[in-house]
C-alpha cells in the first residue's frame, strides 16, 4: 500500500501553480494545493483542482499506430519509429530538408522542446520549427525584442499585489489566468486602482476602478491618445526618458495627432474617461500593465505591443518592483518552448540563427553544420503545405486542426502532406489526418521543467506511469534522432538534457534540475551561484537603451460590410482549455461549460430577433458554424464572442488567417461575420 503526494506543476495556464498529485498504489485520486508555493499560495482554480481527471482517461493513446489502407492500426514502437525515420529520410533526400517542418509544443517540457528543435536543426537540417506561440504571443516576442531586447514578462506574479495601479488590457485575467487574477484582487482589496480596457465586460472589469470598452482593433489609437495626454500634461518621467531611452522625439511626433476627440471617434472610448485612466496610470507610484491575447492576436499585433512598451517607458513604470509590461502567457510552457528555441529564427535563449557567431557556437556544440536561413513559421508552414511545397510535418502535442485560423484551409493543407506524424496524448482532430501516431506521456507521467509566464522554472515530477506503451516526448525524440544517425541524442534523463541546454543558453546557464528542485529560479540566471532575476531592465534594458517606436492606428485586415456586419472575437472561458482535449474529458469542467455558444449583445439580439439560448448560424467569408446564442451585456454592440474550445462548432472555421507582417500571428481577435437564426 503506497500513498504519495507528488509535487508537480499545473498543466494548464502559464501561471505555473504547483500542486500535489495524490497517488494511491499507482492510481491518481486527487489534487491538493501546495500551501507554501510562492506562486499559488496554496490556492488553485477549477482547472488545477481537476488536473488529475483526464490523466487516466480511457481515451488516452496507448499504442503507436500507422495508417494502413486508410485506417490507423496499432503497431510496435520499432515499426512506427522505423517507418517514421525511413519516410523522413526519403522526403529529405527527394525534396530537401526545408520540405520538412517540426512543430514543438507549449504543453511539452523545456527538455522536450530543446530536443525537438535540435532534431529539426541538427538532424533534419532545417530551421522549420515553430509552435503555437505563433498563435498567441509571437507579436510579444517580436515587439518587445525591438523595444526592450527581451520578449518576456518584465516583472513577476507576486508583484501584482503590491502595485498601486494595474492596467489590464486584452486579458480576461480572472478566467484565463485565475491565480494572477487573484493577485490583482488582493491589490484591489488593498485599495489599488485597477483599470480594465477591453471590448468585452469581463469578471475583472466588473470589479475594476475604471472600465473602458474599446471597439476591437482600435487599441493603438487609445494607447497613443494616453501617451499624448501624458506628455502634454507633463506627467511623463523625464529623467527616465532621458537616461534610459532613445527616439523620444519620434514618439512625440507620432502621437501628436491623437487628441481625445479623434481617439474617441476611432475607439468609442469617451475622451474624459480615457484621460482619467491615463492620469491614474501615469501618476501612480507603482503601476503595472498586464496584457494577453486581446493585444497580440491582431494583424498589427507587433505594433500594438510596441505601443504598450512606449506607454510603460514614457511613464518610467518599468525596471522597478511592481511595475513593467507583463504579457500573460497562455499555456503551461509556452514561455519555455520559446526559451528552448522552438522558433524558426531563434536558437535556444533567443540567439539568432542568422547570426554567424551564434551559429558557430551551436555548430561546435552539436558537431554539425547548421542552416542559416530562418525557417517557416507555423502559419506559413500551413500555407506551404497547401501549396504543395512542404511535404512532411511532425507535430508534437498540438492540435492544429482546431487551434489554427481558417480551419477549412488547414484541412486542405494537411491532406496534401506526404507525411504527417503526430505525437499526442489523446486522439485529436489533427490525428484524423496523420499517417503515423505516437502515444505520448502527459505532464503527470514524466520529469522535466516548465517555464511559467514570469520566467520561473517550475519542476514536473513523475507521479504515475504512462498508459500502455506511451513514452515521454523526449524519449521519442531521442529515439528518432538516433535512428537518423545522430550522435547527439544519448540522454538517459531529462536532467541531462537541461544540462546540455544550459551549456548553450546563457540565460539558463545557472539552471539545473537539482537547483530548481528546491528554489524558485527565474531567468536570466547566468551562473550556478546566481539567484536568478525577478525584475528585468533594472539598470539598463537588455538591448541597452529602450527604443520608442512610432506606431499608428490602422484598421483591422477585415472590416465589416453589409453582408458581414458584426465583428467576431474569439477567446477562452474559465472551464475549458484550448482545444478541449484535456478539459472536455474532465467531468467537472465539462459540466460547467458543456457546449459552444456565441455571446451577443442584447440590443443586437433584439434587432436580429434572437433570444437567449436559441440556435443561430454564424458565418464569415470562410465558413459557417451553428451554435447557441448567449444574450448578454458582457459584449458591446456590434461585436460577438465565441470561445474556440469546441470542435462541434469550431470558431476557427470563421477566423481570418490575415497575418501580422513581423510576427506572422493571425488576427484571431477581429473578423467580419453575420449572425442569423439557424
Amino acid at each position: 500500500m503506497s500513498v504519495e503526494h507528488v509535487l508537480t506543476t499545473c498543466p494548464y495556464c502559464g501561471t505555473g501553480c504547483y500542486f500535489f498529485l495524490q497517488v494511491v498504489d499507482g492510481r491518481l485520486v486527487g489534487v491538493v494545493p501546495c500551501k507554501t508555493d510562492e506562486i499559488s499560495l496554496g490556492r488553485l482554480c477549477i482547472k488545477g483542482y481537476n488536473a488529475h481527471a483526464f490523466v487516466q482517461h480511457p481515451d488516452r493513446l496507448k499504442h503507436p499506430m500507422i495508417r494502413i489502407d486508410g485506417e490507423l492500426k496499432p503497431v510496435s514502437w520499432d515499426d512506427a519509429l522505423g517507418r517514421f525515420a525511413e519516410e523522413l529520410r526519403r522526403i529529405r533526400e527527394k525534396h530537401g530538408p526545408d520540405s520538412i517542418a517540426i512543430l514543438a509544443s507549449a504543453k511539452c517540457t523545456n527538455e522536450d522542446n530543446y530536443l525537438f528543435q535540435k532534431l529539426a536543426r541538427a538532424v533534419v537540417g532545417t530551421n522549420n520549427v515553430d509552435h503555437c506561440a505563433r498563435l498567441c504571443h509571437a507579436s510579444t516576442v517580436t515587439g518587445l525584442l525591438y523595444s526592450f531586447g527581451s520578449g518576456a514578462m518584465t516583472n513577476t506574479v507576486p508583484e501584482f499585489e503590491k502595485a498601486d495601479c494595474i492596467l489590464v488590457t486584452g486579458s480576461n485575467t480572472l478566467e484565463a489566468h485565475p491565480l494572477i487574477g487573484s493577485r490583482i484582487l488582493r491589490a484591489l482589496d488593498r485599495g489599488a486602482k485597477v483599470i480594465v480596457i477591453d471590448p468585452r465586460d469581463t469578471p475583472l472589469s466588473r470589479l475594476a476602478t475604471i472600465k473602458l470598452n474599446q471597439i476591437s482593433g482600435t487599441d493603438i489609437a487609445w494607447i497613443n491618445g494616453m501617451i499624448k495626454l501624458i506628455i502634454d500634461e507633463g506627467l511623463y518621467d523625464e529623467d527616465f526618458v532621458n537616461a534610459r531611452t532613445e527616439a523620444f522625439e519620434e514618439l512625440k511626433e507620432a502621437v501628436k495627432g491623437y487628441n481625445l476627440a479623434k481617439v474617441e471617434s476611432i475607439t468609442g472610448i469617451p475622451g474624459q474617461m480615457l484621460a482619467e485612466a491615463a492620469r491614474v496610470y501615469a501618476k501612480s507610484k507603482k503601476a503595472m500593465v498586464a496584457y494577453a491575447m486581446g493585444v497580440t492576436q491582431h494583424s498589427n499585433g507587433t505594433d500594438l505591443v510596441k505601443a504598450l512598451a512606449n506607454l510603460s517607458m514614457v511613464t518610467g513604470h518599468i525596471g522597478k518592483e511592481s511595475t513593467g509590461l507583463n504579457p500573460l502567457r497562455g499555456q503551461c510552457n509556452v514561455q519555455g518552448a520559446c526559451d528552448a528555441g522552438g522558433l524558426p529564427n531563434l536558437f535556444p535563449g533567443y540567439q539568432r540563427v542568422d547570426d554567424k557567431s551564434a551559429r558557430a557556437k551551436f555548430e561546435a556544440a552539436w558537431g554539425v553544420r547548421l542552416p542559416e536561413k530562418p525557417g517557416l513559421t507555423l502559419t506559413c508552414a500551413i500555407e506551404e503545405a497547401a501549396a504543395g511545397k512542404l511535404k512532411a510535418m511532425v507535430v508534437f502535442g498540438e492540435n492544429v486542426m482546431l487551434s489554427d485560423p481558417d480551419l477549412n484551409h488547414v484541412e486542405e493543407a494537411l491532406k496534401k502532406l506526404e507525411l504527417l506524424v503526430v505525437a499526442d496524448i489523446f486522439p485529436t482532430e489533427t490525428i484524423k489526418f496523420a499517417h503515423i501516431v505516437l502515444p505520448a506521456a502527459c505532464y503527470a507521467e514524466k520529469d522535466g521543467t516548465f517555464t511559467s509566464t514570469d520566467r520561473a522554472i517550475r519542476v514536473l515530477r513523475k507521479a504515475v506511469d504512462p498508459p500502455g506503451e506511451a513514452l515521454p516526448d523526449w524519449q521519442i525524440a531521442c529515439d528518432i534522432g538516433r535512428r537518423l544517425g545522430s550522435k547527439g541524442f544519448e540522454f538517459s534523463s531529462s536532467a541531462q538534457i537541461m544540462d546540455e541546454m544550459a551549456s548553450v543558453t546563457p540565460i539558463y546557464a545557472g539552471i539545473d534540475h537539482a537547483r530548481a528542485d528546491n528554489t524558485v529560479l527565474r531567468w536570466p540566471c547566468p551562473a550556478k551561484d546566481h539567484p536568478g532575476t525577478r525584475i528585468l531592465h533594472t539598470q539598463k534594458f537588455t538591448k541597452g537603451l529602450g527604443t520608442f517606436a512610432p506606431v499608428h492606428h490602422s484598421p483591422p485586415a477585415e472590416e465589416t460590410s453589409e453582408d458581414y456586419p458584426l465583428i467576431l472575437t474569439t477567446g477562452r472561458n474559465l472551464f475549458q482549455y484550448h482545444t478541449g482535449t484535456m478539459t472536455r474529458r474532465s467531468p467537472k469542467l465539462e459540466r460547467e461549460a458543456p457546449e459552444p455558444y456565441a455571446e451577443v449583445n442584447r440590443a443586437d439580439a433584439k434587432r436580429l430577433g434572437v433570444s437567449d439560448g436559441e440556435r443561430v448560424m454564424v458565418s464569415s467569408r470562410r465558413g459557417s458554424i451553428a451554435l447557441k446564442a448567449r444574450v448578454t451585456e458582457r459584449i458591446i454592440q456590434g461585436s460577438i464572442f465565441i470561445p474556440f474550445h469546441y470542435a462541434e462548432a469550431a470558431a476557427n472555421r470563421l477566423t481570418n488567417a490575415a497575418l501580422d507582417p513581423d510576427s506572422k500571428i493571425p488576427e484571431f481577435k477581429v473578423c467580419a461575420v453575420r449572425l442569423e437564426k439557424a
Binding site: M1, H5, T36, E175, L179
Partner: protein, 261 residues
C-alpha cells in the same frame, strides 16, 4: 531524522500502534502532506503549515484496504473526525489521533474559540480567542451596508470550488452547487445563491477549521460567514457540530433533502 519526526513516529507507531502516519514534512523546498508507513524515515516534519489533513485523508480513505492511520489532529480536526464517525464514513477503530495544540499565531489567524485538543501530544495549549473582529464590525453595520459588503466579496468568486473541495465536512456525493437549477449563472461569478446555499448547507456541520477561507483565491472572508451562522444555530437550536453523540436539529431538512435534489 529530526527531533519532531522522531517524537511523532514514536507516538504514532510505538505508543498508538498505528500502521501509517499522516503528517506534513519538508520536501523540495516546500511543505507537503505525507503518509508514512511504519519504519519509514519521517524526515523534516513540519506542523506549522495548516494542511487540512482530515480532508486529505478522506480522499485516500476509500482506497485504504487495511491498517490504522495516526493523524495529526488539531481541535477542529477532532471535531471533523467526529462528524465522519457520526456518518459512519470512517471506522473509528482505524483512525488514531495525535493531538496538536495550535500556536498562538494560528489561533489568532483562525479567530479560534476552541483551540485545545482533547489530548495534547504536541504543542502548548493556547488561550481561545473570544471574538472575530470582522463579525462584530459587520453586525454593527446597517443591513444594506452589510449586503453591499458581501455582494462585493462574492463578486470576486471565480468558482474554483475550493471552499467545497477542501472542506472536511462537505459530505454530499452530488454537489447542488454544480446544478444549474440552484446556481443558474453561466460563467463567473456565480450569483449569491452559490454562497448562501453553501453557508446553509454547512450550518450544522462546519467545525470552523478555516480551510475554505485559506483556500479561497478571492480571499472572501468565508470563515466569518460561517462563524456568523454557527452563532445563530447555537443560539436558536442550542446545537454545535463536532460531537459524535449529538444529532443535528437540521438533519432531516438538509441532508436527506439534498440527496433528492
Amino acid at each position: 531524522m529530526s527531533d519532531l519526526g522522531k517524537k511523532l513516529a514514536s507516538i504514532a507507531f510505538d505508543e498508538l500502534g498505528a500502521d501509517y502516519l499522516l503528517a506534513m514534512r519538508e520536501e523540495h523546498g516546500n511543505v507537503a502532506p505525507v503518509m508514512l508507513a511504519r519504519g519509514q524515515d519521517p524526515g523534516e516534519i513540519r506542523l506549522d503549515v495548516p494542511y487540512q489533513l482530515v480532508n486529505i485523508l478522506s480522499n485516500i480513505y476509500p482506497w485504504l484496504k487495511d491498517g490504522k492511520v495516526a493523524v495529526v489532529t488539531r481541535r477542529c480536526d477532532e471535531k471533523a473526525l467526529e462528524e465522519f464517525f457520526k456518518r459512519e464514513l470512517f471506522d473509528p477503530r482505524r483512525i488514531l489521533k495525535i493531538g496538536l495544540a495550535c500556536s498562538k499565531e494560528q489561533v489568532a489567524k483562525c479567530r479560534c474559540s476552541d483551540p485545545v485538543p482533547a489530548k495534547t501530544h504536541i504543542g502548548e495549549p493556547q488561550k481561545a480567542m473570544e471574538k472575530d473582529e470582522l463579525s462584530e464590525k459587520l453586525m454593527a453595520m446597517p443591513p444594506e451596508e452589510r449586503l453591499r459588503f458581501w455582494a462585493y466579496q462574492f463578486k470576486k468568486c471565480n468558482k474554483c470550488f475550493a471552499c467545497t473541495l477542501t472542506c472536511p465536512v462537505c459530505f454530499c456525493d452530488e454537489c447542488i452547487l454544480e446544478e444549474k437549477t440552484f446556481v443558474p449563472e453561466p460563467g463567473i461569478p456565480p450569483g449569491m445563491s452559490f454562497h448562501l446555499i453553501r453557508a446553509y448547507h454547512l450550518a450544522d456541520k462546519c467545525i470552523e477549521c478555516g480551510e475554505c477561507e485559506r483556500s479561497c483565491p478571492a480571499e472572501i472572508p468565508l470563515l466569518t460567514l460561517r462563524k456568523l451562522l454557527a452563532k445563530d444555530v447555537k443560539e436558536i437550536f442550542g446545537f454545535a457540530p463536532g460531537d459524535r453523540k449529538t444529532v443535528s436539529p437540521l438533519l432531516t431538512v438538509l441532508e436527506e433533502g439534498c440527496n433528492e435534489c
